[in-house]
């Protein structure tokens, strides 16, 4: 029996997730009483936190909220003779290439630089960097699976803060990040990737709930002034932080 002459395998250049027919539009439409996963609009996803994931680093944290997975690791404080009066902190926020349905480029994009600066801004108020002069701290954040871009940035803030705590950096309190989008005139807290499509803008809030301080607020989109200071986002932070008893167990 003769083998067939040629079997040509043309490797596809890019991998595409198969399209699923379904009600993707209007997930957060005004007439929808609930979300896809049954949460209320002010509720955040459940959280799972594990520290001491990366043994080589000073401190690390793995954070998973429903499907989104983030790893943060801290390297430092390392000597840095250019940081005179106060220590220096740099955050490197990256999406892994396999984190979303379409593959991301390995080169750092402007979007990732923007998110890195959002995370740095959120962490700065809580840290006592003047206690570690002439040192620098590097925080590396990798998003392994993204489920909602801005929600991932919020999780990254929380994960980075826990990793810094585990690394022994002196801080006022844990910083927790929470995000919200506005769709159909309604504020919806902690949205997944599907819910984030076609929205009228997003809001990211990072706070230290115990000290009632807002560490960072970033908002893009045409909103009314009242929506920006909507109480539900702040309570989203508190809701996540309310699991602090579980967090002490994780550290202990």
């Amino acid at each position: 029996m003769q083998a067939s002459a040629s079997l040509s395998f043309t490797r596809p250049n890019r991998s595409v997730k198969p399209l699923i027919e379904g009600p993707l539009q209007g997930i957060l439409a005004p007439n929808n009483p609930k979300r896809l996963d049954g949460r209320a609009f002010e509720n955040v996803r459940e959280l799972y936190v594990q520290t001491r994931i990366v043994h080589e680093s000073s401190g690390s944290c793995y954070l998973q909220s429903a499907n989104a997975k983030v790893i943060a690791s801290v390297d430092g404080p390392r000597p840095n003779r250019y940081a005179y009066e106060r220590g220096d902190i740099t955050c490197d926020f990256r999406f892994a290439p396999f984190s979303a349905a379409t593959r991301r480029s390995t080169r750092r994009s402007g979007e990732e630089r923007e998110y890195s600066s959002m995370v740095t801004q959120a962490l700065l108020p809580s840290l006592h960097l003047d206690k570690i002069p002439k040192s620098s701290i590097d925080v590396y954040i990798s998003v392994i699976e993204a489920d909602g871009t801005i929600a991932c940035v919020a999780s990254a803030i929380t994960a980075a803060s826990i990793a810094l705590c585990e690394a022994g950096i002196e801080m006022d309190g844990l910083t927790v990040g929470c995000s919200a989008v506005r769709a159909g005139g309604r504020i919806c807290v902690d949205c997944t990737g599907v819910e984030e499509k076609n929205v009228e803008g997003y809001l990211l809030l990072a706070s230290m709930p115990r000290l009632k301080k807002v560490c960072n607020i970033v908002h893009v989109g045409p909103w009314e002034a009242d929506d920006v200071t909507h109480v539900s986002v702040m309570e989203g932070c508190v809701g996540w932080f309310g699991t602090d008893t579980r967090m002490t167990w994780v550290f202990g």
């Binding site: 108020p125 009228e200 803008g201 908002h219 009314e224 002034a225 200071t229 702040m234």
Partner: protein, 290 residues
Amino acid sequence: MTDLILSESEKTFILHGVEQNFRIDGRTRSDLRPIVMETDVVSHASGSCHLRLANTDILVGVKAELETPLAAHPDRGRIEFFVDCSANATPAFEGRGGDDLAADISRVLTSAYESPEVLDLRELCIMKGRTCWILYVDILILEVGGNLYDTVSMAVKSALFSTKIPLVSVTSVDGGEPELELSDDPHSSSRISVKNAPILVTLTRIGNHCVVDSTPEEETCSSASLLVSVTPSGHITTVKKIGGGSFQPSSIASATKQAVSVGVHLNQSIMDKLKQEESMGRKREKVGFL
């Protein structure tokens, strides 16, 4: 921005002044310093504006170029912001020193102008999917004297107001590509509507209150600022925190209210002045840089 060194008593003096709603130069917390502005100062640009707010000097040039639209939005033009922190402004900007700040300002402006109600980018489309206008807004920072973001946004809005886009006519050739003809007449041009364009308002937190238009001394006293982008109708298009400090949740709410009231008033004043300048027509004496 500048590395000012203030003594503790000077900082306390500024703090007490802010609490009493009477700052060092006599302004209230919501007052701005005098603004001098002129549009159409750069002859090669489609639109330009030279704006000076006390010691902060910004020059903006807008150039409109014909390019293909993005595949995701074939019926819209684009607007892109580039900021150049000139080494004239502060010695800290020498070499690559100003790059981070420049990237930051252009990101904030992109977020502020992102929402569709701000600028109708469909007005910039000539042929759907083929050609559109792209507005390149180039911002040159000549001098920094406090309150950089707000001054840049005011200059950008004024430059966009003065931008004249040449009229384009599409002549279709039988069996070939449609051809574009730019009108040769320099006086026949279209304008883009900036009636919803936002202005950034920076609220610098000093003590328990927020001040608008902070001087470099006041900036040294504060640990955190809130940047709010306000449209003439009072909507907020972007909010960002600057600096290493934190806010109380209630002060964010009061700060955004203050920003909206100042922003709406400022938008109105700038539009009034721009219209007044435009009404002077060709008889207007150009002051330029002297």
